[in-house]
C-alpha cells in the first residue's frame, strides 16, 4: 500500500484517541473503585450484581424486622414473667387460705390480696407497647380485657390474630400472643383450655369436674367447674357450679369466695366458699403451666429469631463478597494497567514527535 504523508498522522491521532479512551476508563475505575460503571461494561456481571444487591437490601429489611420482633418478644417476656410471679403469689395465698379455721380478718386480708392480684393481672393483660395492646390479637387499639360490671366478667375484647413479621423470604415469625382465644390451637397468655374434662376429688370427698366449653357469644373457651359430693347427690349445699375464662375471672372468684360471696355478691356458705377456694388450686396450677408453656414458646421463637439473624448476617456477608468480586476493581491490577497505558501513550507521543517532524527536505541541503 502506498503510504501518503497524512496516513501516519491519522494513525497517530487514532492511536492517541484510543489510548486516551483506555486511560479514561482506567482512571474512572480508579476513582470509583468499580470495574462496572454501566450495564454494557459487563451485562451478566451487572445482572448478577443487581440480584446480589436486591438480596442484600432484602436481608437488611429482614434484619430490621427481626430486631423489631425481638423487641416485642422481649417486652412480652417481661410482662409474662410478672404474670408468672403474680400467679405464684396467688398460689401461696390459696394454699394458706383454704384452711377452714380462718378468722374474718384473715379472710378479708386474703380477699383484698386476691383483688389486688386480680387488678394487677388485668393491668398486665392490658399492657401496651408503643400504644398498642399486645395481648389483643389484631385488635391492638382495644384493651384486651375490660370488666363487665353487669355480668361480673372480665371479657376479652381481642381476637385470635397472630401478628406475623417477615423474617426471610417466605418465612414469618409470630410476634404476639392472644390473651384468650376461641381457637384451642393458639397459645393464649391469660387463659388456658383443656382438651378433655378433668376430674379431681377434694379433701372432703367432693368431686370437681372441669369442662372446657366455648362461650356462646364470643366463642372464647371457658372452664365450667361443677362441684358435687357422691354422698350427698342433689343436695344444694354440696353442689356448686361456676365458670371462668381467664386469670382475672379466676382470681375474682377467689377474692369473692374469701368474702363468702359469689361474683354477683350473693352470699355463699363458708363450706361452699372453702370448697370453691380448694377447687381453684387445680386451675391455678394449670394457669401457671400455661404461662410457663407460653414463655417456653416465646423463648423458642426468640431462639429461632437469633438463628435466623445469624443466618441472614452470614448470607449478607457472602453476598457482599460476591458483589465486591463482581463489580469492584482490583486496585493493584488497575494501577498496573493504568501505568502501562501511560507508558504506551508517552512512547507514542515521543516517537511520533521525532519521526513526524522530519521529511526528506530535512536531509536536502
Amino acid at each position: 500500500m502506498r503510504v501518503t504523508s497524512f496516513l501516519p498522522y491519522n494513525q497517530l491521532a487514532r492511536g492517541l484517541k484510543d489510548q486516551l479512551a483506555e486511560l479514561t476508563i482506567l482512571s474512572n475505575q480508579m476513582a470509583t473503585g468499580k470495574k462496572i460503571s454501566k450495564t454494557s461494561d459487563d451485562v451478566s456481571g451487572t445482572v448478577d450484581a443487581l440480584g446480589y444487591r436486591l438480596s442484600l437490601s432484602g436481608n437488611e429489611q429482614y434484619e430490621r424486622n427481626i430486631t423489631r420482633a425481638s423487641t416485642v418478644l422481649d417486652f412480652t417476656e417481661t410482662t409474662l414473667e410478672q404474670v408468672a410471679s403474680v400467679l405464684d403469689s396467688l398460689r401461696e395465698i390459696v394454699l394458706d387460705g383454704s384452711d377452714s379455721s380462718l378468722s374474718e380478718a384473715d379472710r378479708t386480708y386474703y380477699a383484698e390480696k386476691a383483688a389486688l392480684i386480680r387488678d394487677h393481672l388485668l393491668e398486665l393483660g392490658n399492657t401496651t407497647f408503643e400504644d398498642r395492646y399486645i395481648f389483643s390479637g389484631f385488635q391492638t387499639d382495644q384493651p384486651a380485657y375490660v370488666y363487665d360490671a353487669v355480668n361480673h366478667r372480665y371479657s376479652y375484647q381481642g381476637d385470635s390474630g397472630q401478628l406475623q413479621l417477615a423474617v426471610d423470604r417466605g418465612l414469618t415469625q409470630t410476634i404476639n400472643f392472644a390473651g384468650s382465644s376461641a381457637d384451642p390451637s393458639i397459645s393464649t397468655a391469660f387463659s388456658y383450655t383443656l382438651n378433655t374434662p378433668q376430674t379431681v376429688t377434694l379433701a372432703d370427698g367432693s368431686t370437681v369436674t372441669y369442662t372446657p366449653l366455648p362461650d356462646p357469644g364470643s366463642g372464647v373457651t371457658f372452664i365450667e367447674v361443677d362441684i358435687t359430693h357422691p354422698d350427698h347427690p342433689g343436695d344444694p349445699e354440696y353442689e356448686d357450679h361456676f365458670h371462668f375464662s381467664n386469670f382475672m375471672e379466676m382470681t375474682d372468684l377467689l377474692s369473692q369466695a374469701w368474702q363468702y360471696q359469689d361474683l354477683d355478691g350473693t352470699a355463699l356458705s363458708s363450706s361452699e366458699s372453702l370448697r370453691r377456694i380448694s377447687a381453684m388450686a387445680v386451675p391455678l396450677e394449670k394457669s401457671e403451666d400455661q404461662v410457663t408453656l407460653v414463655r417456653a414458646e416465646l423463648a423458642a421463637r426468640h431462639l429461632q429469631l437469633e438463628n435466623q439473624e445469624e443466618g441472614l448476617q452470614a448470607n449478607s456477608e457472602t453476598l457482599k463478597n460476591a458483589l465486591s468480586e463482581m463489580e469492584d476493581a482490583d486496585m493493584a491490577e488497575t494501577i498496573i494497567a493504568l501505568q502501562q497505558v501511560a507508558v504506551t501513550l508517552e512512547a507514542l507521543r515521543m516517537s511520533s514527535s521525532r519521526i513526524l517532524s522530519q521529511s526528506l527536505f530535512d536531509f536536502l541541503s
Binding site: R2, S5, N10, S40, L54, F138, L163, N176, L360
Partner: protein, 215 residues
C-alpha cells in the same frame, strides 16, 4: 372523575355522567340541534359521532362511556359542549392521604393490628407473576436490565466496527489520492535535476554556438 359541561342553550337542560370510565376517550364533543334531531360532533375535527330524534321531554344519549340526558325546548342555535378532559387534571387527587388508609389488614373491614395483607404484598416480590411472563419482579427487572445492557453493548460494538471500517476506507482513499511529501520532494528533486541537466545541455549548446559564432 367528572365531565365538564358547557351549556349554550336558551331553554334546554343537560346532565352528563360517566357510566364506564374504561370506555372514555380523549375526545370532546359538541351537541347541535336541527329540525327535531340532535347531532353529536367531535369538537376537534367535526366528525359526526351520533345523531337521532330529539325528544324535548328527555333524550338519552349513550356514547363512549358517558350518558347524557337533554331535555327542554331547543333551537338550532343551541349547543352543548361536553369534555371529559377539562376538569380531569383539576380533579386529580391522591387516593391515600393517611397512613390509616393503607390496606395492611387482610379483612375488608380492616383490623388495627392485622398486617396479613401487607405480608402478602411483601410476598409478591418472590412470586411468579403472569403479566411479567411468569417471572418474579426481580427476575423481570434483571431481564430488562440485561436487555438494555446487551443492546447498548451491541450498539457500542457496531460503532467500533463502523469507525474501523471508516478509518480503513479513508486510509485506502488517502493511499491513492493522498500526497506523500517525501514522494513529492523526490519528484521535485528528480525534475529539478532533469531541468538542471536540460539547462546544462542548453548552456553547453549555447556555448558551442557562441564559440562557433565568434570564430
Amino acid at each position: 372523575m367528572e365531565l365538564s359541561l358547557k351549556d349554550d342553550s336558551s331553554g334546554a337542560d343537560m346532565t352528563a355522567v360517566i357510566t364506564d370510565s374504561s370506555l372514555l376517550t380523549l375526545d370532546e364533543y359538541t351537541v347541535r340541534f336541527n329540525g327535531g334531531n340532535y347531532f353529536v360532533y367531535n369538537k376537534a375535527n367535526g366528525d359526526l359521532k351520533v345523531s337521532g330524534a330529539y325528544e324535548p321531554l328527555g333524550t338519552t344519549i349513550n356514547l363512549e362511556g358517558m350518558q347524557w340526558v337533554i331535555s327542554g325546548a331547543v333551537t338550532s342555535a343551541d349547543t352543548f359542549e361536553i369534555s371529559p378532559l377539562t376538569t380531569a387534571v383539576s380533579n386529580f387527587g391522591t387516593a391515600l392521604n393517611s397512613i390509616q388508609q393503607i390496606a395492611a389488614s387482610g379483612t375488608l373491614a380492616g383490623v388495627p393490628g392485622d398486617n396479613s395483607n401487607a405480608l402478602l404484598l411483601a410476598g409478591l416480590v418472590s412470586q411468579n407473576l403472569a403479566p411479567l411472563e411468569a417471572s418474579t419482579l426481580t427476575e423481570y427487572y434483571q431481564t430488562l436490565v440485561a436487555e438494555i445492557g446487551l443492546k447498548s453493548q451491541a450498539a457500542s460494538e457496531t460503532l467500533e466496527f463502523s469507525e474501523n471500517f471508516l478509518n480503513n476506507l479513508s486510509d485506502r482513499r488517502d493511499s491513492i489520492s493522498g500526497v506523500s511529501l517525501d514522494e513529492e520532494a523526490a519528484n521535485l528533486i528528480r525534475f529539478q535535476q532533469a531541468y538542471q541537466a536540460a539547462a546544462r545541455l542548453i548552456r553547453t549548446a549555447d556555448e558551442m554556438f557562441e564559440a562557433l559564432m565568434s570564430m
